[in-house]
Symmetry: C2
Subunit: 426 residues, 2 copies
């Protein structure tokens, strides 16, 4: 039997009772003959509490010290999980990210994993121990400093360990039953997906589905690690993310649904640069300024210029948290570029339809837009990939748009399946 | 200007405001031209909270994981102190015990420092940074595991760093103004000592004065590091522990007081083994059994055997927390040794008179015992060293005994000097 890597988030480790429940679950897997390596997040609100403390000390904490501070959170949860396992008659060893060989670059607060050298982990496995590893943290290769991986970090730790240990599966435990065809808080009869491809999951994650972070899925795809997303509050099968058929099942491509799901995102804002001279290099100058300000753009639309004026409008979406920075960067180049004015709108939302099957099925776009029209939803911007169509709509129309699309593509389940428990960020 | 090492305890780091106050104090020293290295304990009740969590998970946490858990406490406080220093326009780098090169043996929960290799600390000092080090923790030389140093650990970290860095002074910040001639909660007009020798401080610490731990003083004496015990809540000079005259003062041996202070201890119990056959080897068998049970004895008294019976009684004191273990170990050898019965008394207290001057001054003992008699205090057991006389009395008589002794040796100050703020264990 091979190695099973599991990851438990903060909501699964909220208190001593939750930790004991997680320990029982881990021990069951060990009993079934697998070696088990577990990545853990900080307990419940620990990270928020630590960040509150930092904010009370200084408005501008140095990134190095912020990482040192936050890394204490997983140290607490991993030691407690190891103790709880010990209490059940099994032995466990906890390791910090550094001890587990999670080597990162030196970007504090959003470090990237560049190598995993799990010598102490494999030794502990060889000695028969269950291994608990601090998620979300590592040590920088050049400076030997403690780093944290940023959002989705613990998931990424788990998948990276699974790849380094050549594990059979990476189980991501969360507070929902798996990946759904839409957010069950908006669409109560959304269906849980049994299986989704890495490609679809990447688009879902990029388009606002919060269940798995982009980096984790990218890592899984690169190293071909099957990811099983499931609830720590039930024994149900969750959603398998992989390019292979679900273990134990035949390939089911023939019956594969065209659409995997409908994602939505309310975290973006839209900026329109009005009256840009339609000359070579003007648009480039605008996007150069935004890149210099370290802003990641999402959708970009340039109108065809009105022939009479030779002026054009350029619109783009970006994270709302970057809105102020982007407006400042653009205001600074107004004289140079000579545009007319800037419009800022943060009352928008993005709705995306995702499915690998749409590649070969014409008519998806018209059906999508028809559903939106029937629901009285106005489309602002449009962008597409091979397996995705996204539209920007009024923030107030997002729920209606998601529901109408979900129904139009026959994604509704016969009865309500979903249970939503809460949510964590890490 | 040389290196100043400081140590701040948990009560000096209780919350964000306290941390900011400590940061201002650290920065003042840096401004005066010194390099500063600071050892910190965990904030306020953090350690107790973590231990409560562990107790909620399992009644018997493995020592390795308990150390991993507890070490998170200093990680939090050190990062926050570094942030607060940064907020004042200075740069600070925090280091875990392991990063700072605090190398220990592998005894989890009570590890001993066997080496300090502060390469990263000296490098950071060289780069102009203030250095914050996690107290109370290290890394084991052989197993590379996180260890904690047990009681008094953060003080010991500070003195060990001071020795390794060849610091000018090790300042131990606490919640009282220094070392007093007696516990100010019992003797309100106890006087703060300006200076005390290592030898006297060792006896004071061993006899119940909780202000500095024995190990810290031993370390200071071995490496001749002047220790300045002072309050983090005031700017007053505290007490210098060293064998040299206080810096800036002439040697004052001629005027050195005979008595440094009166210490008391309510943490011990007394066991009497009644009716031990007065034969060679019987006492040895008793103490062997206690040693096997890892029990540290304090005072030991054996009565002269009654000639008629050839039986003797052996009494000794030990930490109350070891009482049950000792009684069990002794009960197990009753058949072998053939003693009559065991008596257990935990309603005792120890009062000690300490002073390097008593070596050369006869009459100290009679004056001490006379004071106790006048106060109506009955003496149970007696033990002496060159610079100390200790007596065991009824627990209820301890306060009277301390006050009577303090007055008899003219230690009372003209007015009340002491302010006591609270207390921490670490």
């Amino acid at each position: 039997m091979g190695i099973v890597v599991q990851k438990y988030g903060g909501s699964s480790l909220a208190d001593a009772d939750a930790i004991k429940r997680v320990a029982r679950r881990i021990v069951e897997v060990k009993k079934s003959g697998h070696d088990v390596v577990v990545a853990v997040s900080a307990m419940g609100d620990t990270t928020d509490d630590l960040l509150d403390l930092a904010a009370a000390v200084t408005p501008l904490p140095p990134a190095r010290e912020l990482d040192m501070l936050q890394s204490a959170g997983e140290r607490i949860s991993m030691a407690l999980v190891a103790m709880a396992i010990n209490d059940l008659g099994f032995t466990a060893r906890s390791f910090t990210g550094s001890q587990a060989g999670v080597i990162t670059d030196a970007q504090h607060g959003k470090a990237k994993i560049i190598d995993v050298t799990p010598g102490r982990v494999t030794q502990a496995i060889g000695e028969g121990h269950i291994v608990i590893v601090a998620g979300f943290q590592g040590v920088s290769q050049t400076t030997k400093e403690i780093t944290t991986l940023g959002r989705g970090g613990s998931d990424t730790t788990a998948v990276a360990l699974a790849a380094a240990l050549d594990a059979d599966v990476c189980e991501i435990y969360t507070d929902v039953d798996g990946v759904f065809t839409a957010d069950p808080r908006i669409v109560p009869n959304a269906r849980k997906l049994d299986k989704v491809s890495y490609e679809e999951m990447l688009e879902l994650a990029a388009c606002g589905a919060k269940i798995l972070h982009l980096r984790c899925v990218e890592y899984g795809r690169r190293y071909d690690i099957p990811i099983h997303v499931r609830s720590s509050f039930s024994q149900l099968e969750g959603t398998w993310v992989s390019n292979d058929p679900k273990p134990g099942q035949e390939e089911t491509t023939m019956e594969q649904p065209i659409i995997a799901g409908v994602a939505h995102d309310r975290s973006e804002a839209k900026i329109t640069v009005v009256g840009v001279p339609d000359k070579v290099g003007e648009a480039a100058r605008i996007f150069e300024a935004l890149a210099d300000a370290q802003i990641n753009l999402d959708m970009i639309v340039q109108n065809i210029s009105a022939a009479a004026t030779s002026l054009t409008d350029i619109s783009f979406t970006l994270p709302r948290t970057d809105g102020q920075t982007a407006m400042t960067a653009l205001a600074r180049i107004q004289g140079e570029v000579g545009y007319d004015k800037l419009l800022y709108d943060d009352k928008i939302g993005k709705v995306s339809l995702i499915g690998a099957g749409m590649r070969s099925h014409p008519g998806i776009t018209s059906k999508f837009f028809g559903a939106l029209a029937s629901a009285g939803v106005n489309i602002g911007m449009i962008s597409t990939s091979e397996i995705r169509i996204s539209v920007v709509v009024d923030e107030a129309s997002v729920d209606d748009a998601v529901r109408a699309t979900h129904t139009a593509f026959d994604l509704d389940a016969d009865e309500v399946e979903a249970v939503v428990y809460g949510g964590t960020g890490r």
